[in-house]
């Protein structure tokens, strides 16, 4: 079956791109050949004077190139050739004597936008789903089908960098503003407008485009101005990525070559850079993560065919504090469900509604919501001191104080006030779910949903079934988590679940280092240099030392001496230091901003800070504390697959994405080398570094977490 169908509208031929049996349009080699052949045919087709390209998919133009084809690339040359083929195809579109107009509605991304860029004229719908972007750098690549060359020529270097370097899409209004599209119209008249534009192009040729104002002329319009732009862009990228991600830097180079040395050189540079980037480990890891999250979106956490999701239209949230309000606000904002907050104290209820409403207000202010949508969503939020409205909720999430007795009390009250079919989720980071569920009349509808704080920002959700939880409950929780924009992993009901399990030994090791007098900034800077967004000591301040202390105790009780907490947290607590929340922690805070490390912790500990520190040794201890615990937890079956484990670490604690996750990192090191390192650390620092049995086994058998070749 063909991906393209043709239709004559006067002297305009309407080309509809509709890939058979796929939810979205992507541009593969096969699609490329077909389009190429089609253009040849239309070039000699007498009645056709102009061409309009549109999508046959609802709310989506073209989602991008077919990434499945990337993973089969084995050499730089092969990858560069793929890029060159794409460039030739787009050149074909651009060179067409019969003007080609793109009618864009819905996502227009990557190769899709490159196709649109090659057209002579672009009309987009003003629908919120219409988003145009070049996300290639998020996969460690760059736009390789001419996009790195055409975009700066169309919208200027600065706007092009805004789109290419972070890979974030723009909406229709912005696209019109920067000149990415020529017209923005309601979806209802998109096609007519595009056809009219095509006819106009035939009659009177391509219209000249608007100038870009004074700043545009000074910066984008002359070579000297552009030098400033390149320099600034490089600085910003360096600062943001710490030089860990080569793609944005290469993209800046390619754009520079294209703009300063001409498009021929620019296209060569683009293909070469694409080829080289495609073969980098960074790109491979990022593509793997892309596949992993895509696969997770289809994984309901139970064997296929088991469990039926209850459609959630209303949630109840018990506990109207920071967490409860975050859950309610996120649910309303993302899934447009009704969210009803309950707390014993009505003042807290009111504050919770306000906090949740504020999340919506931010969107209103950023004009991501119209006033009408804002009012509508705001009315989805309500609160109560009793259980009114809870009987009609399909899912109730409790987010009360982290205390087993309190949580069991909440479950008991809920069982008395909601139907037996309502799914009850408990949000906890340390208490085993089966302890909360034991004693319930219907334990099959109880599970854990571990949200991360702040809920609206953190992308991960851990769903924790107990041995009694029904498949229906699991599927409902997982699908609801996805609806509110989270990446969801299903993990075992074991202390710390997955994310906190591997985080705690790492934070604890930071404590041991502090006890030895390793300076705070050294510890943090070693780990940010390794790729974490923040270092472990900063993280302790953010999490709160009270929370850390509590979690540390639970982990110590559950896993024994290996996870005995360092002295540091106790000492800090004794000095009333809770971290950022009370403005007293390892760092100084002024007006909520971190101002610098507070060395007095060493006086509290009675140690002298070290002057010279072996940074590699610090890195090894911190990294392997986490990697070893990850292996240990995997050996216990805490996470179902290495994929879930790695995605969880990346989205849950900011594990460096370019390293692909703790298990990918272990694979890169090799089990034998990892065990050897752990044995060295054990000899120097004690049995807490004793290698995980599963790692020792792998070292003996040459085992890996992932197959040696291939992306999955």
């Amino acid at each position: 079956m063909s991906a393209f169908t043709l239709e004559r509208r006067g002297n305009v031929t309407l080309v509809t791109f509709d890939l058979p049996n796929e939810p979205l349009n992507t541009i593969s080699k096969a699609v490329g050949w077909e389009l190429d052949e089609l253009l040849s045919r239309l070039a000699t087709d007498e009645p056709t004077r102009a061409i309009v390209i549109r999508s046959g998919k609802p709310d989506s133009f073209v989602a991008g190139a077919d990434i499945e084809e990337f993973v089969q690339l084995r050499t730089v040359e092969e990858a560069a050739r793929l890029s060159r083929d794409g460039q030739l195809l787009m050149q074909r579109v651009a060179d067409s004597e019969k003007p080609v107009v793109a009618a864009i509605h819905g996502a227009c991304l990557g190769g899709g936008l490159e196709l649109a860029l090659a057209c002579r004229y672009r009309v987009a719908s003003d629908h919120p789903k219409t988003q145009l972007g070049l996300p290639e750098t998020q996969l460690g690549l760059l736009p390789g089908a001419g996009g790195s060359n055409r975009l700066p020529r169309l919208v200027g270097v600065r706007a092009a960098f805004d789109m290419i370097l972070a890979g974030k899409p723009v909406r229709g209004k912005k696209a019109l503003q920067i000149g990415l599209v020529d017209e923005l119209v309601p979806e209802a008249i998109l096609l007519e407008t595009a056809i009219e534009a095509a006819e106009r192009l035939v009659r009177s040729g391509t219209p000249s485009r608007r100038g870009r104002g004074l700043a545009g002329a000074l910066l984008d319009g002359n070579p000297l101005g552009r030098l400033v732009v390149y320099k600034k862009a490089r600085e910003q990228v360096e600062q943001k990525t710490g030089g860990k991600y080569p793609a944005p830097l290469r993209a800046i180079e390619v754009v520079r070559t294209s703009m300063e040395e001409g498009m021929t050189k620019g296209l060569e540079a683009e293909a070469q850079a694409f080829g080289e980037l495609a073969m980098t480990d960074v790109s491979r890891r990022l593509v793997e993560i892309f596949f992993a999250t895509t696969a997770l979106k289809k994984d309901d956490g139970v064997p296929a065919g088991m469990g039926r999701a209850v459609p959630v239209r209303r949630i109840g949230v018990i506990g109207s504090g920071f967490m409860g309000a975050g859950i309610a606000g996120t649910a309303v904002m993302q899934a447009h469900v009704e969210a009803r907050l309950k707390d014993s104290d009505l003042v807290r209820v009111g504050k919770g509604i306000k906090a949740a409403t504020d999340l919506l207000a931010v969107r209103l202010k950023r004009r991501q919501l119209t006033r009408f949508e804002y009012e509508r969503q705001r009315a989805l939020l309500s609160g109560t001191g009793d259980f009114s409205g809870f009987a009609g909720a399909q899912l109730v999430i409790e987010a009360v104080f982290e205390d087993l007795a309190v949580k069991r009390q909440v479950i008991a009250e809920l069982e008395a006030n909601v139907p037996a079919t309502t799914i009850l989720a408990t949000n906890t980071s340390t208490i085993p779910i089966h302890d909360i569920a034991s004693g319930a009349r219907h334990p099959e509808r109880i599970l854990g949903m571990h949200f991360f704080s702040p809920v609206e920002k953190m992308p991960l959700l851990e769903v924790i079934p107990t041995s009694s939880t029904s498949a229906d409950a699991i599927v409902t929780a997982v699908q609801f988590g996805r609806r509110i924009g989270k990446t969801v992993i299903v993990v075992a009901d074991s202390p710390g679940f997955w994310v906190n399990r591997i985080l705690l030994p790492y934070l604890n090791e930071a404590g041991h280092l502090l006890e030895e007098g390793v300076p705070i900034e050294t510890i943090d800077s070693v780990m940010t240099a390794w790729g974490f967004p923040v270092g472990p000591v900063t993280l302790l301040d953010e999490v709160g030392l009270d929370v850390g202390e509590k979690a540390g105790k639970v982990m110590h009780q559950s896993f024994g001496e290996r996870l005995a907490p360092s002295r540091v947290v106790g000492v800090m607590r004794a000095d009333d230091r809770l971290g950022r929340k009370n403005g007293r922690g390892f760092y100084f805070y002024k007006d909520g901003r971190k101002t610098g490390a507070d060395g007095s912790v060493f006086q509290l500990l009675g140690v002298r800070p070290q002057g010279e520190v072996d940074r590699q040794r610090v890195e090894d201890r911190l990294v392997f504390a986490m990697l070893n615990e990850a292996a240990m937890a995997m050996g216990e079956g805490v996470v179902r697959t290495p994929r879930d484990a790695d995605v969880g670490a990346i989205f849950g604690i900011g594990f460096p994405p370019f390293r692909g996750g703790p298990l990918r990192t272990l694979d890169a090191i090799g089990a034998g080398e990892a065990v050897a390192m752990l044995e060295r650390l054990e000899a120097a620092h004690g049995p807490r570094f004793h290698p995980a049995p599963v790692l020792e086994e792998m070292a003996r058998t040459g085992g890996r977490w992932y197959p040696a070749d291939g992306y999955r």
Partner: protein, 402 residues
Amino acid sequence: SAADLARHCTRELLYRTELPGSEVDEVIYGQVVPSPLLPNVAREVSLLPQLPRTVPAYTLNRACASGAQAISNAADQIMAGHADVILAGGVETLSDVPILHTHKFSQVLVSANKARSLSERLGLFAQVRPRDLVPVSPAIAEPSTGESMGQSAEKMAKENHISREAQDELALMSHQRAAAATADGRLLAEVTPWFGGRGMDQVIQSDNTIRSDTTLDALSKLRPVFDRRYGSVTAGNSSPLTDGAATTLIMSEEKARAMGYRPLTAIRSYAVAAVDPGWQLLMGPAYAVPLALRRAGITWEHLGLVEIHEAFASQVLSNVQAWASPEWSARLGLPGVTGEVDWTRTNISGGSIALGHPFAATGARLVTTLSNAMVREDVQFGLISICAQGGMGFAMVLERVP
């Protein structure tokens, strides 16, 4: 705003009753002083995200009886077979009334909008005098007579010989009963908390006009407002104008039973009457109540509980006097006396003097309070009586259903 209050109150009704929004056929709401920017507040209610966007809605104005009128209209619609489930209520935000420009200035603005040139526009504005710029706030006065509500109440006190003491005693009773009904939770159960203030942390759980500690002595010290020399109507024995919303769920009996609801009360009858506004403005109930009783096929003696809207104590006592007096009945052309009010069965949770009078909300509040009381006290028949602007009176008979 009025829309916020009305939406909040209606949404809480939906949550408390667990009524699926898809079952609602119509929303009818009363509002006496709407904002010109939001003339149909009922539609704002029916556009709650808890309801389908396809629920029609209209806002009506029967002055102070608007909330009750919304309920009787709902009953009519259901009896006509046009609907099974209607949300009916009323809202008023008298702290947020529209303030208008003078007629002169409004005319200039309208003409300026149509003006073709700058000079024409400037010419128009040149006509404006400083006094034209003074804002106009709506007064609670009869458009037909220019007499304010308070002046009418004052006139009725004098013509019907209602003493200052009797008025103050009624006011005291209203406050004491409202305070008791709040303290023992009867009224709290009917009020949904409002989260006020910028931080939404100022929680209002009960009416904040109730003075539980007031005394006859304190009330008697207040100076008359409308006739400082010979008057008896004071701020203490009149109802305060407040903000409020009230929503009721009106269903056909079959529908209610099919959905597993137990009805509180049924609407047995209602009646509206009007008198000459130039006579005794707030005497409408004297006509409306006997009419409603006749339509219900019962007499005053059948009534177990009565709720009378307390616009002014002098008005309540005038109505009460008229119902009981043979002379009045003859003067009004009624076949006989209507009945004698038993104060132990009337306004048992206080009334508008203590609870406030958010015009259109009051009628729906009376129906709610009476219905709950009839269930609690297992009473077969109950009556509400409301006086309204324009000389109108509204009465409704409710019946307990098994």
